[in-house]
């Protein structure tokens, strides 16, 4: 392994890291509006990707239909999670939604294991053209496709958040619920829509993870949940730019760890990265560094 290989690992990691960014944004978006963590988010995103497989596998639709179906399914699942884990749960109790969403995480996992009999499912690649050669480096064409789609999803989200009334409403409701209601906003509608938007984003992430790994397996949900949370912590809870940068960072770092050590050791270092951030920058990348009390 030489320098070129390490740089290659970082490039691949950055391309794949955009999926982590999306998962991190989803966690952060819900946190920004409701000040709650939705623990089931990453599992639900992958469940959306699984639902997409119904199209080609059972309905005889063309392979590409898996992508739009995954995204729509994840949006629907997002709303169902809002209804089951948040809408009727006392929000004043900080533990209630944590419990309900951890329960949902396990439930979603069980359903996926049951539906697939625990077998990994093949997932189509987004594009299978020739790799692009850049001097000594190689860009995997399918990863470039994943990267571009994730970037487009982020751009759409940012436009939605900063240019439309829905985006402003999500920020207004989070910050000043009383005045927001008196400005004619229904809190439940805005909260529900936020879950749908986060769900759609998760659907993109889930589909792109499936497309770059080449398959979906129930084992992925756990690691993606943990990495999504790590991205959220590193980026700072509630910060979307933070989640984007942190996703790229975690993607690049884990691939580098894998290249330097090996795949079984990789996640150990990713977890250590989490602790390093919790100690040194508990508020995330973009918060001012602060000493401990």
């Amino acid at each position: 392994m030489g320098f070129v290989d390490y740089v290659q690992a970082i490039i691949d990691g950055l391309l794949f890291g955009t999926t982590y960014s999306l998962i991190g944004i989803g966690f952060t978006l819900v946190f920004g509006v409701m000040h709650k963590i939705n623990m089931s988010y990453a599992a639900a995103s992958l469940a959306g990707a699984y639902c997409g497989l119904i199209g080609p596998q059972m309905l005889g639709l063309p392979p590409w239909s898996v992508f739009p179906l995954s995204i729509v399914a994840a949006g629907v699942i997002g709303y169902v999670i809002y209804l089951t884990c948040f809408r009727f749960i006392p929000l004043a109790s900080p533990l209630a939604t944590l419990m309900s969403t951890v329960g949902m995480l396990l439930l979603v996992d069980e359903i996926v294991v049951h539906a697939t009999a625990g077998m990994p499912q093949n997932y189509p690649a987004i594009y299978d053209g020739d790799p692009i050669e850049l001097g000594p480096f190689i860009l995997r064409a399918d990863l470039v496709g994943v990267f571009l789609i994730c970037v487009v999803a982020m751009a759409v989200l940012l436009a939605l958040l900063y240019r439309t009334r829905l985006g402003m409403a999500t920020r207004a409701v989070a910050q000043q619920p009383v005045a927001a209601q008196l400005c004619g906003m229904r809190l439940q509608a805005v909260n529900g829509l936020t879950f749908v938007v986060a769900g759609l984003l998760g659907g993109v992430a889930g589909a792109m993870i499936g497309a770059s790994v080449g398959m979906l397996s129930p084992l992925i949900a756990g690691t993606i949940t943990v990495k999504g949370l790590i991205v959220t912590v590193i980026g700072g809870l509630g910060s979307i730019p933070g989640a984007i940068v942190a996703g790229l960072l975690v993607g690049a770092a884990e691939n580098l760890f894998q290249a330097v050590r090996n795949v079984t050791e990789r996640d150990i270092y990713v977890m250590l990265l989490l602790f390093a951030f919790l100690v040194l920058r508990p508020g995330g990348l973009f918060a001012a560094a602060r000493g401990r009390d």
């Binding site: 402003m168 000043q176 209601q181 004619g184």
Partner: protein
């Protein structure tokens, strides 16, 4: 315009509002005063829908709105300001006004996309008028949280006006203002009355209340103890007792 009949609100065993009646006529500036804890703020919160009454009716233009959902009252024509300022501090001044001006309830006829994703186009003119009126035109693109205290108060008023209300509830708009700012507020309230707004004013600053209101309702311990013109209320012995204590 607004009529309150037998309004009661209990919090546990506390009778914050204990059977209040009053009626505000269209085009009137109506004052609601009383010592601290007399039930003024609770009354306003009941009218704008933050609390549901224990008993009683709130008739707005003849319709009982006591059970109408909070977010729907804006489109009926009710808007308010808050004593403790409640702006969307992480949005700009312009966006704060846009949230009220372009409220989904105002556009119930529009489809989902138009309501939530639609552009800013036709709101611009009315919002620039509201900015002009409140003297905030030069701060339009600044974050609301970065405004000075007096500017935040004016933005609260501008946001309430942007909602196109028929009845404007002003909850202690003069709190924390200096004499010059209160004089400006006095002038603004008169201008709003001339423009045809009906106003319910809750205020501790007696000079302002006596100067701008047409009629006043005085509360004490959740009950109405007097109602009438500023002169009548000032002369009322029960009012003097409430403010100064019996035997003073």
């Amino acid at each position: 315009m607004l009529e309150v009949r037998g309004l009661v609100k209990h919090f546990g065993g506390v009778r914050a509002v204990d059977g209040i009646d009053f009626a505000i006529r269209p085009g009137e500036v109506f004052g609601l005063i009383g010592p601290n804890g007399s039930g003024k703020s609770t009354t306003v919160n009941l009218v704008c829908g933050l609390y549901a009454p224990t008993q009683g009716q709130i008739l707005f233009q003849g319709q009982d709105i006591a059970r109408v959902a909070t977010h729907k009252r804006l489109s009926l024509g009710l808007a308010r300001t808050f004593q403790n300022i409640r702006l969307f501090t992480n949005l700009t001044v312009w966006e704060n006004l846009w949230m009220a001006e372009n409220a989904p309830a105002h556009r119930a006829e529009a489809g989902f996309l138009k309501r939530w994703v639609g552009g800013r186009g036709n709101a611009r003119e009315r919002i620039s008028q509201a900015l002009e009126f409140s003297g905030l035109a030069h701060r339009a693109d600044d974050l609301a949280g970065s405004l000075a205290f007096g500017e935040q108060r004016r933005l609260e008023l501008a946001r309430a006006l942007a909602a196109r209300p028929r009845l404007l509830l002003l909850d202690e708009p003069a709190a924390g203002m200096n004499a010059e700012e209160i004089a400006q507020l006095d002038e603004r309230i008169r201008m709003l009355q001339q423009q045809g707004y009906t106003i319910l004013l809750i205020e501790h600053h007696m000079e302002l209340v006596m100067a701008v209101t047409d009629r006043i309702c005085v509360l004490n311990f959740g009950r109405k103890i007097a109602e009438g013109t500023p002169a009548q209320v000032q002369a009322d012995p029960a009012v003097r007792d409430a403010y100064l204590g019996t035997g003073a």
